[in-house]
């Protein structure tokens, strides 16, 4: 038995430069290194981290509670005592923005989790198996689409009682539909690729093909759409709360604060300005981070 195989020729030119750039690493290490080079993404991640800490731990350092009213005081602009000013009931806006952030960030997180787990799996399975199963699964999505979102939410809240948990469930239940369609579309075209044939020819099972081969290749659109989902559900939550179906006063969410602020902006612009600025900052940071992640996770983007 001969073991000699033809050896490729040695490279004509030895490069002195250390080859650190092509040192092998896992996809995640690799992505992390590339993400760190993207200044906008790093700054955005920093801002998001700050906003999260601000919302989670901030209230401990402010000497007011979110429900403490001072009706005589009324709405006041920013001052040394109230950095963000106060609202119409004399409540401290800084601490209300922090509490509102907890709800809004949780809503965003929850919708993202649902749309990433259910939406991605559902779409990938539907697209991969195709045929009758695909038609059936997609018709279900179509049907869910046609049911008005508000109707579903009201139904949920009436059937199961009004609570914050139900709000998350209701928002989660609709947030995965578009994701499922997007992923299905990606998978439909990706499954024609030769590397999928190659994986099948080497006996990889359905599960491995879907979650190791197809889904990672669809990560770009998935991440982009996720960064679009988060602001959308935050606004939907605001809408629900505005109708009295979501978060109830004296609790707050960013959406609620912004809509209150919009009503009062003629006389008290600070009520719109401060919560609005925090919300906008967060959404911008999410978008830039999403873009950065998309580029970092694609191994072909490496220059």
């Amino acid at each position: 038995m001969s073991t000699d195989v033809i050896q490729p020729r040695p490279p004509l030119l030895e490069v002195d430069e250390p080859l650190e750039e092509i040192e092998g690493t896992s996809l995640w290490q690799d992505a992390w290194r590339r993400l760190r080079k993207n200044r906008m993404a790093v700054a955005s991640a920093g801002i998001l981290l700050f906003v999260v800490l601000f919302c989670v731990f901030g209230p401990w350092f402010v000497g007011y509670s979110f429900e403490e009213q001072n009706l005589a005081y009324g709405a006041q602009g920013a001052s040394g005592a109230h950095w963000f000013g106060t609202d119409l009931h004399g409540r401290d806006l800084l601490v209300r923005t922090m509490y509102g952030g907890r709800i809004s960030l949780l809503v965003g997180l929850c919708a993202t989790a649902v749309s990433l787990t259910i939406g991605v799996s559902y779409g990938a399975i539907s697209g991969y198996f195709g045929g009758r199963l695909d038609s059936m699964m997609m018709r279900i999505v179509d049907i869910l689409y046609t049911i008005p979102f508000m109707f579903v939410v009201i139904l949920f809240l009436v059937l199961f009682g009004r609570s914050l948990v139900m709000l998350f469930v209701a928002l989660g239940a609709v947030s995965w539909l578009t994701m499922a369609r997007i992923v299905r579309g990606q998978v439909l075209s990706l499954k024609q690729s030769e590397f999928i044939d190659a994986a099948r020819a080497s006996g990889v099972g359905h599960f491995g093909i879907i979650f190791r081969h197809l889904v990672p290749n669809a990560l770009g659109p998935i991440i982009v759409y996720t960064t679009l989902t988060i602001p959308r559900v935050m606004l939907e939550e605001a809408f629900l709360s505005y109708l009295g179906l979501g978060v109830q006063p004296p609790m707050a969410s960013w959406g609620l604060l912004v809509s209150d602020g919009a009503n009062a902006m003629t006389f008290f612009p600070h009520m719109l300005l401060f919560p609005g600025a925090v919300l906008t900052l967060t959404l911008f940071a999410l978008n830039f981070l999403g873009d950065g992640l998309r580029d970092a996770l694609d191994p072909r983007m490496r220059s």
């Binding site: 073991t3 033809i6 030769e194 044939d197 020819a201 006996g203």
Partner: protein
């Protein structure tokens, strides 16, 4: 004749295309003795690859449809085993090398993951042991510095190196049958020679049988023991490589040989192309599908498909005139 590793009898692969039926493979019979190499030769669209896809259960059904008398692999009929069993065979006992190494590797997975995945699917060994085996196989296919290269992504490899990775992937489980689907078509000529030599060496080393799908008769010469020439979904001529090269019987085989440059030919000798195009597989002409391009066609060629004439052990031709 020695024991057969693969014996395909009357295989059909049909596709439903907008109401019509496209007969990609229309009654193919081939056989391959253990340890030997069979070259399946034909133009693009002649059904070479589809024959293999059909046997391996890689034809999407629907719109595809695979049926036939039998496809015996080591005594087991691949057309009738369960899908699960077929999946266990693929990659383990029958492996495939694809035409284009640029697209046949997943751009998102490191070489290690693509290789260990195959081992995990079939051998159920630990990731660490799988990595060691993958490294060993990369070394065997001639990838320099495999310890570093194994953690890289496919886009960091050149075309020839990627094809070596594909070969390593196919040979990991030491398959009894290796299907190489135009393994050198996407590579330049010097790399082609290297890859073919590598395949030949590894085949002898592992004792595998090989089906070499190609449209390049130059690749067939010197690499194959047997040749099956396909046209419009059928095998038109079968024989040993020597018989096909020295005494081709079917006008199509003769035409293919006349259109290949030869080193031993006189300088001024012109290459003779085969006129026309292969027929649309949804609208095959009556009788012999090659008759529209055949210089020797007679009236009876249009009447019926020529009977397959057996001229000896493994020597067959399907032509009225030859």
């Amino acid at each position: 004749m020695s024991e057969l590793i693969l014996e395909v009898k009357d295989l059909h692969v049909h596709y439903a295309v907008e109401g019509a039926v496209s007969k990609a493979v229309d009654g193919v019979s081939i056989s391959l003795p253990k340890g030997k190499t069979l070259a399946v030769v034909g133009e693009s669209g002649s059904g070479k690859s589809q024959t293999m896809y059909g046997i391996l259960g890689l034809v999407p059904q629907p719109p595809g449809k695979v049926f036939g008398e039998a496809a015996l692999f080591d005594g087991e009929d691949l057309l009738r085993v369960s899908e699960k069993k077929l999946r266990q065979l693929r990659g383990d006992r029958i492996a495939m090398i694809f035409q284009d190494p640029m697209t046949a590797l997943n751009p998102f997975l490191t070489v290690e993951r693509q290789l260990t995945e195959v081992l995990e699917s079939h051998k159920g060994i630990s990731r660490k042991a799988a990595r060691a085996e993958a490294l060993e196989m990369l070394r065997r296919v001639g990838i320099p510095d495999p310890e570093r290269r194994i953690d890289q992504h496919p886009h960091q490899f050149s075309g020839g190196m990627r094809q070596r990775v594909m070969i390593a992937m196919a040979l990991l489980c030491r398959p009894a049958l290796l299907v190489a689907d135009e393994p050198t078509t996407a590579l330049d000529v010097t790399i082609q020679a290297q890859i073919l030599e590598l395949l030949r060496n590894l085949q002898t080393e592992l004792g595998s049988s090989m089906i070499l799908i190609t449209h390049d008769l130059g690749v067939v010469a010197g690499n194959a023991d047997y040749v099956a020439v396909m046209y419009a979904g059928r095998v038109v001529e079968r024989g040993t490589a020597d018989q096909i090269f020295e005494a081709p019987l079917h006008p199509y085989t003769q035409g293919l040989l006349a259109s290949v440059p030869r080193l031993d030919a006189a300088q001024k000798e012109q290459l003779v192309p085969i006129p026309g195009q292969p027929p649309d597989p949804t609208q095959l002409p009556s009788g012999c599908p090659f008759r529209t391009r055949c210089s020797k066609a007679e009236d009876r060629c249009a009447a019926a498909y020529p009977e397959v004439r057996r001229l000896g052990e493994g020597r067959e031709v399907a032509c009225w005139v030859a």
